[in-house]
Each structure stands twice: as structure tokens, then as C-alpha cells.
Symmetry: D3
């Protein structure tokens, strides 16, 4: 009797998409205006889902308050109002595309979720572009 429990959160950040080993012409071809060297930004909407058995005593798969605090301390504090390229160590050698950000968020949360439970990260870069990663 497994249930998937989902919690929505959000953070705002600036980023720039470019490959450090490519010249500007190549970066513009691949990344277009996302390569703007002065950065642009997004309101990232995040949905974190944990799947597992319902605890008989509490009726919870996971306590939403604990999940909310975990997302706050591990994800929002690390990414909110940040420049992803400049201030977030994981993106020193990794391009902060929505795909890569979802993997980074998954890796930040995975050690704190019981191993008997599945984890899924859904990240909206805009209301029209979003990605899903589940390890």
C-alpha cells in the first residue's frame, strides 16, 4: 500500500548557460539568449515526491512538515536568490540547465530520505518548461 507524497516549494535564481571550453559563437549557436554573459533568471517551482508505505500510527508516509523543512534547509537555502553559476559549488563544472539542477537537487535530498522510500524531483524552470528526475 505505497503512496506518493508530494510537496511544492520554490526559489528564485540567476543563471547563464554556456560551455567554458567553447567560444562565444559556438555557445550562442547552442544556448541562444540563455548564453547572455550578464545572466538572466527564473522563478523555479519545485515538487519533491517521496513514495513509501503509510505508517500505521501516524497515517503519514512522511511528515510534510519535516519534508518542508528538509527542502528549506537543503535546497532553498542553497539556491534561493543565488547566482547558480557563481555561488553554487555544484555548478562550477556543470552547466545549470533544468536537467542538471534537478539532478543536483535529487543528490542533495537523497541522503536524508529513508532508503526504503523512493524520491522524485520535478523542477519547473518556467510554467512551460519542466523536468523530472528520479535517480
Amino acid at each position: 500500500m505505497k503512496v506518493k507524497v508530494s510537496r511544492k516549494a520554490h526559489f528564485n535564481a540567476a543563471h547563464r548557460l554556456y560551455h567554458k571550453d567553447w567560444d562565444n559563437k559556438k555557445n550562442n549557436e547552442v544556448f541562444g539568449k540563455c548564453n547572455n554573459p550578464n545572466y538572466h533568471g527564473h522563478n523555479y517551482e519545485l515538487i519533491v515526491s517521496v513514495t513509501g508505505e503509510i505508517d500505521k500510527n501516524t497515517g503519514f508516509v512522511v511528515d510534510m512538515k519535516i519534508l518542508k523543512d528538509l527542502i528549506k534547509s537543503k535546497v532553498e537555502d542553497a539556491l534561493d536568490h543565488k547566482n547558480l553559476n557563481v555561488e553554487v559549488p555544484e555548478f562550477e563544472k556543470l552547466i545549470p540547465t533544468a536537467e542538471n539542477i534537478s539532478v543536483v537537487i535529487y543528490n542533495k535530498l537523497r541522503p536524508h530520505i529513508d532508503s526504503s522510500k523512493d524520491l522524485e524531483v520535478m523542477l519547473y524552470e518556467t510554467p512551460r518548461n519542466f523536468v523530472t528526475y528520479s535517480g
Copy 2:
């Protein structure tokens, strides 16, 4: 050629989260303000999904009007504008967390959906907290 067909519905209800065998101190530790003995409430948004083969004659997996009426008679009539703890028999011994409500809704609908088809219940307790159960 299986397609998943989803229908959105909603109901409003009051509830309280607490374990009858625990004292108030323990209930407050686990359930916080959701343990308010005077109840609080939610607009529950519900998405019921049925997965199966497309019928060649109608082009339907399931007739949306029939699915809509089924959700009305089996779920909305039972839960809408109700106090879940006091008025819904399934929660006499079951804490009405979102997880448990989704299982109760699934069990109410499953006998009325053809066994060749899969059923999934998604329940939003708030726009930020939601659960998914598929048996």
C-alpha cells in the same frame, strides 16, 4: 494502445489529525496544529485516472460523463461538506491524513471500474501538499 484518462473533481471537508490512544502532548508533537480539537478544513482537489485500451467504436477509454457521475455518487456525496472524523465511517479508526483519504477514495471507486483497467487517485490537500495512490 493504452491511454490514461483523468478527471478532476473537488470537495470541501473538515478534519482533525490525532491518534485516539495518544495523549494530547504526544498528538501535538506529531500533528502540531492539525490536532486542533475544534477541527480545521480543506478544499480537496481530486484527480481520478483510469488507464485502459481505447474502445474502437466510441474512441473512449472510459466515458467521462460516467466517470464524473461515479466520482459524484461514490466520493463527493460521501465526503463533501462533511466532518471526516465524525461523519465518515471509514475514519472511525483511521486518521484522515491525505494518504489515508486517498486510499479510502481508491477503495470506494475500484469496484466500479472494470478490472481490466488501472485506477489512480491523486488528492491535493492544499495546492502545495498532495498524494498519489494506485493500489
Copy 3:
């Protein structure tokens, strides 16, 4: 150069609509299933808007963080996870319809907003029913 600044918040609560001087038959005629004596509840979505001149130094009409904290301390702390009929003094003699709740919220906030500025309260009882009050 007046700008209207809006901040969205939310709270969950239980309530019951009935007139204390009417018998149950009359209350059912007027309020239908909203008269359930065991209560039902809603996720109330709230939009508080303040209209005034832009401050030349800050570029703000009102600091969103201050407005957010004000809504938290004056509205959410008073109404969230509460039974409006039982636990909120303003509704001792006032029926907690969306209309009346919006007036109560307006009156809670008005003394804390500079008198040179206009205040508007928008309250969603459900995604389909909402009210607006501006004094």
C-alpha cells in the same frame, strides 16, 4: 504615480454557516449543506493589495517582506487551522461567510497600513467562489 502592490497568502479553517436565531429548517433552506453542525472547511487563498506612491529611495510602495509578516501576524496566526465559529472572537455574532471574513481581515489589517494608502482584500473560499472588499 500610484501603484497597487499585491501579496498572496493562505490559511485553512473550518466553519459552519447558520443564524443562531433561526431553527434548523430555516438554516437549511438558506445555507444548505454549509449548515452542517459538524463543520466543513476550506483552503482560503488571500490576496492583500496596498495602493500608494512609490518611495523614491527604495522603489517600493510597501516592503513585501513587511507586508508578508503583517499578514502572517495579524491574519494567518488568527485564522489558520482554526474553527472560525468556535475560536475566532469576531465570529461570535457574525456568520463566517466569505463576505464577512473579508471584512474582518480588512479591519485587522487597516490600522497597520499607512492612512495615505488604500487597502483591498480578496478572499478565495474555493477556486470558484471569491470576494473582494476595499473598505
Copy 4:
């Protein structure tokens, strides 16, 4: 390290649900007011998802701009502001239910998505009725 990348699009169209070999009485029984011979219409919201490995150089599973252009040229140009029954060849012998439209869209896109990647089509006929097809 597979990630699912989703892109939202939309188109408006008119349609009518009826089976050519059935008389009007039978069509009304099955399709109700959707059988209106003068047509009715919808704003279809479409979510196209592609699942695959992240490219190490670009950080993309699929370039969103390319996916956006593909949806435009293969789906929107074929269906937007069209009468599905009259003007879209795929529905000459196929009833344009949401289920069948999702299959037609899948088949239009599948040849243009690398075979190592999975494709999923989600189609909202209304905000309350939607379908999902993944081959």
C-alpha cells in the same frame, strides 16, 4: 541518469463526436451534446515529454527550442484553429476524442524523436478532462 523533459503548448480547435455508421439517436445516447452537428470547441493544452540521458556537453536531454519548434511544425500547424473532423485527414475515419487526438499527436512526433528516447503526450481537453499516452 535519465531525465524527463516536458514542454507545454496549446492549440484551439472545433470538433464533433459521432460515429458515422450510427443514427442520430444512438450518437446522442453515447456522445450527448458533444454530438452537436454544428460543432463545439476547446482550448487544448498539450504537454510533450521526452525522456533520455543528459548530454554531457550541453546539459540537455533535448534542446527545448528544438522541441518547441517541432511541436509547432508537426502539431500546432496541423491542428490549431482547425475543424478536426473536416480539415485533419487523420480524423476522417477516427472519432476526435481526447484519447484519439493524443495518439495522433504521438504518431506525428514519434518519428522526429531519437529512438533512444521515450515520448509521452498529455492532452487537456478542458482543465478538468485530460489524457496521457506514451505509445
Copy 5:
């Protein structure tokens, strides 16, 4: 102490934008693909707002159930699943643009709303295009 009470509804319809006295070239210049002679369609989202004094006995400006039923009988029954050009008499000589539809809906409702109250009609033709009319 005036409060504005709003109720959301929706209907689906087909339409075509063209001026009967203009040739096809002129109609295409002005209306583009909305001039498709085979029609296209929309999910129209409608918000009807009534502004007035709160009734001291009920706490209502207007009973939402009565407003909901009024919208159903006067607007939805007249427009839902219809071809606006062919089946709705008001559009025999009036082009069914969002602007004109909002005026028609206003005129259908106005006689049934107490003259001491204000009426406003907001109509979404798509999530990106909408109009507001208040007489």
C-alpha cells in the same frame, strides 16, 4: 460596506470571426485564421461578479448557489457546446469576438440581478486572452 462576490463558470463553444459584408480577402486580413469557415473553438472561462451590501441576516451579498444556478440557466444552457455563429440568435448580426460575447452575457444576466447591485463579466477566451465588461 460593499463587497464584490465572484463566481467562476465555464462553457465550450465553436465560433468563426468574419464580417458578412466583407469578401474573404478582407476577412483574412482582419481576422486571420479565426476566419476559418469550418470554425474553431474555445474553453471559455467566465467570472461573474456582483457588488452590493452584505445582507445582515445571511452574511451574503448574493447567495452563491442562486448565482451559480442563474449562470447555468441563462448563460451555460445558451452557449455551452454550441456553435455561436449558427445556434445563438444574438450573434446573427454580431461577430462573436470575446468583447461582444461578454456584452451578450452581461445583457443576459443584468435583468436577473437586483438593480441596487453592480454586475461585472470577465471572459477568458484562452488563458492568455480575456476581456472585462461592466455595463
Copy 6:
């Protein structure tokens, strides 16, 4: 018979809130983490509304396609994927708060809207923070 016609658009941008004549301590007090010198960013959602008489021939207050193109050329091309502080001349001496951005957008559009018509600009900085300016 005036109708208000609204069109939704969006753009992404990076910005930083700080007053050039204040030291960092003062800027942090007033702007908090919005003062991050490496910038952060938002998906700005924009609603532009034009109010005027319905043209008897077209049924339009304003042609949505023309309004859409105007927003594209005057607002999106100027602000989308830009660093507002660094790349947008209007913000050389003006702090790019939501309030000030809405005024800048209004001023960019006003000369291109017929003077007989009213203009309103609504700008969502996040789904929870938004502003409205109408001259």
C-alpha cells in the same frame, strides 16, 4: 459600452535591488537577499489591458494580434533574458523593483496605444508578489 481587453505575456530576467548611494549594510537592511551582488532572477508574468469602445466593424476594442506584437517588440525584446540593472537603460538610475518595472513597461507601451483608450499594466514578479499600474 467600454470593454477592457487583456493579454498575458512573460519574460525572464536577472536583477539586483540596491541603492547606489547606500553602503552594503544599509542595502542589506532594506533589500535583504534581493541585494545579492551576483544577481538573482524571475519569470515575470505580464498582463497588459486596454480599455475602450468596441469597434462596430471588427467587434474588437483592440486587435489581440496587434497587441501581442506590440508587447513583443516594445517589452519582451527589451527585457527578456536580460540583466535589468546592466542592460536596460531605464534602470541605470532606477531600482528595478516590480513597482518601477511596471511603470517602465507602461511608459514603453503608452505612446503606441490610442489616446482614447486606457492602459493598465499588471506584473507578477512571483506567483505571490505582483503589482498593477495604470498611469
